[in-house]
Amino acid sequence: MLQDWWLDFQPYVGGFAEASVVVLALSVCAIVVSWVCGLLVALTNRSPIRLLRYISGFYVWFIRGTPALVQIFIVYFGLPQIGLRMSPFVAGVVALGLNGGAYIAEIVRSGLLAIPKGQMESAQALGMSRTHMMGRIILPQVFRIILPPITNEAITMVKNTSLLSTITVVELTLYSQTIISTTFRPFEFYIATALIYLAMTTIISQGALELERRYAE
């Protein structure tokens, strides 16, 4: 029975591998975008320039209050109407990156609040510039604090790439749908798909645990 299953599955191994690589590429790109975005928004949150604070406030409010799927549709189907046309892959990275950025911003903001004021004062009192202080003293400490929640965000990001099946990105979910439509074996193939996602997210959470352990020493 197992042999039968493997015979059915074998022709698609290459396809699954390719689709997995697409998921990885989407996740890595979108995570990078979300971190850059989130960090910038978290820092402008404390900016003395009011307009910047309004913009970042609006951004977080909008992203957190609307479904990711609708945001993806806005980027992929909506933006071309005003002349911004992107490939499905790029649109997916932009939409998921912007989406994750709002959550990362909130996480970074709470991490910054958790650093005692004295940490900044002792850096300032030694003549450090703001950039030096943030880069060498504050953000490294923030990173240790926020490692568990940003790990969660990374895992969410990997899973959310499946939403991009709706805008024709041939990632794992769309790939398995395609082969199921010809093999009529949804049970096996969806389970296989789930296991591949599970492997990826497990690697992320184990990696983060290892990092945490190292920082704890």
Binding site: G118, E121, S122, Q124, L126, G127, H132, R136, Q141, Y215
Partner: protein
Amino acid sequence: MDASAEPLIRLRELRKSFDSNEVLKNIAIDVHQGEVVSIIGASGSGKSTFLRCLNVLEMPDGGRMQFEDFDFDFEPGARNQPTPADLRRLRARIGMVFQSYNLWPHMTVLENIVEAPIRVKGEPKRQAIERAEALLERIGLVDKRDARPTRLSGGQQQRVAIVRALAMTPKLMLFDEVTSALDPELVGEVLALMAALAAEGMTMLLVTHEIAFARDVSSRVLFFDKGVIAEEGPSGEVLRDPKSERLRQFLKRILHEDTLQARLPPSLTGVAAELLREA
């Protein structure tokens, strides 16, 4: 101290308010090279804010400050208001130690000490490390160079914090209640280091509740009350024979508390008893 010489730091008409609360009212002092000035006063008297104005961690609302080649006018709109770059250069020459040590927990003891010399002053790495090790040697913590600060006792952390400030070879050291967070048995080691620095001629201003230390180590005492320097003078005189009733009351209160906690070295219990008898 040579009273005729130019002061190391000169302040005139220094003012600071938080919202409508006037914390410092027209403070003026000169501090000369090698002087050790203790600042005492009740909480809320403005003494900590005053100290923090000296390295502009707190931006004064007005007044003038001269220190080495700096001549700042804090009045809003004044021509020589300090720029951010001025402030960084100023702070690199004024060491400050805080009540809560404020060592950076993600760095080792040695990294804490060499960070600013290397990256603020641009000192060669090897030279900064050598000096840091010499300083650690001096406070007997060279074996802790690769430890995280959180592994150290409070007294050890505070001594590392002092050494971190000294590594910048400052012209002036500010101490903001540096023994207040320490367990009583750890206070002595920190005070001993500060006394040694004073003996070596370091110019120091310290906000403190350690009256014995103020009397024995500092040359001058400032008593802050409601945002003004209510009384000042040579530490022996001011602490033994306070002129104002408020200072008398203040000393009675804190010496009494100290005696109850048995924190005073024996040398001072006589003074405390005297003050208590007077009251």
